[in-house]
């Protein structure tokens, strides 16, 4: 899969820092699951956090904290929460446990359907699937706030070029969309 449209670097930095609301984190994690080059960049960005952690001022732990840790280390681990496999990339699977076929589409205009994917966080942002019929023009629309659009299947073209599976359109009202063109691969 050749990914040609990547998120803005500041978007990847927000993901690395962990400050995104769940819907945005899901879109970026799904994109990264589809993009090895994107995962390489994410590793580099995580190193910023690693360096900052190294430099962090030490705040003394309470007495007994180490004992508590060593005692807890003896306890058996809880079983890991396993995400069921599905026909979508793993980070998206918990939101579509029965795959894309289970999506409940709502008509949203000619050739356009939407399927809301509920998230657990209480943010005002929203995660959804958007289905556009083949051959339909994708309208240019103005964006209120940040909008991340990841192509799962099919393709579309806009003034930024052709978007295929794994590609992401990272639009923001404040910043002109700027695809990152520095991928190593």
């Amino acid at each position: 899969m050749t990914i040609t449209h990547h998120p803005d670097m500041s978007t990847l930095m927000a993901f690395s820092a962990g400050t995104f609301d769940e819907p945005y984190a899901v879109v970026i994690a799904t994109h990264l699951a589809m993009s090895e080059g994107g995962r390489d960049i994410m590793h580099r960005l995580n190193a910023i956090g690693g360096a900052l952690l190294d430099d962090e001022q030490e705040t003394e732990m309470s007495s007994g904290a180490l004992d508590r840790l060593l005692a807890a280390a003896d306890q058996p681990d809880l079983p890991e929460q396993i995400t069921p496999s599905s026909d979508v990339p793993l980070p998206l699977a918990p939101y579509l446990p029965n795959g894309l076929t289970s999506a409940k589409w709502k008509w949203s205009g000619p050739g356009v359907a939407i399927c809301d994917l509920p998230t657990r966080d209480e943010s005002s942002s929203r995660l959804m699937l958007l289905r556009v019929a083949a051959g339909r023009p994708v309208p240019e629309h103005s964006h209120g706030g940040q909008e991340l659009t990841l192509i799962l299947s099919g393709a579309y073209r806009d003034r930024f070029g052709l978007f295929g599976p794994g590609d992401i359109a990272d639009h923001d009202e404040d910043v002109e969309h700027k695809p990152i063109a520095e991928m190593g691969a």
Binding site: A33, L127, M128, V132, H141, Q146
Partner: protein, 42 residues
Amino acid sequence: MKMLNISPSLKWEPDCICLVAVDAPLSFRSRLIRTLQPLFGL
């Protein structure tokens, strides 16, 4: 790498399916319809 594998039997198979995150919770649909209206003469 886990690839997206969509069954060819799906009737929207040639369609474009996107995963979208927006931070305008209620207005997206109305905004989309608003932008679609002139295109389709609704």
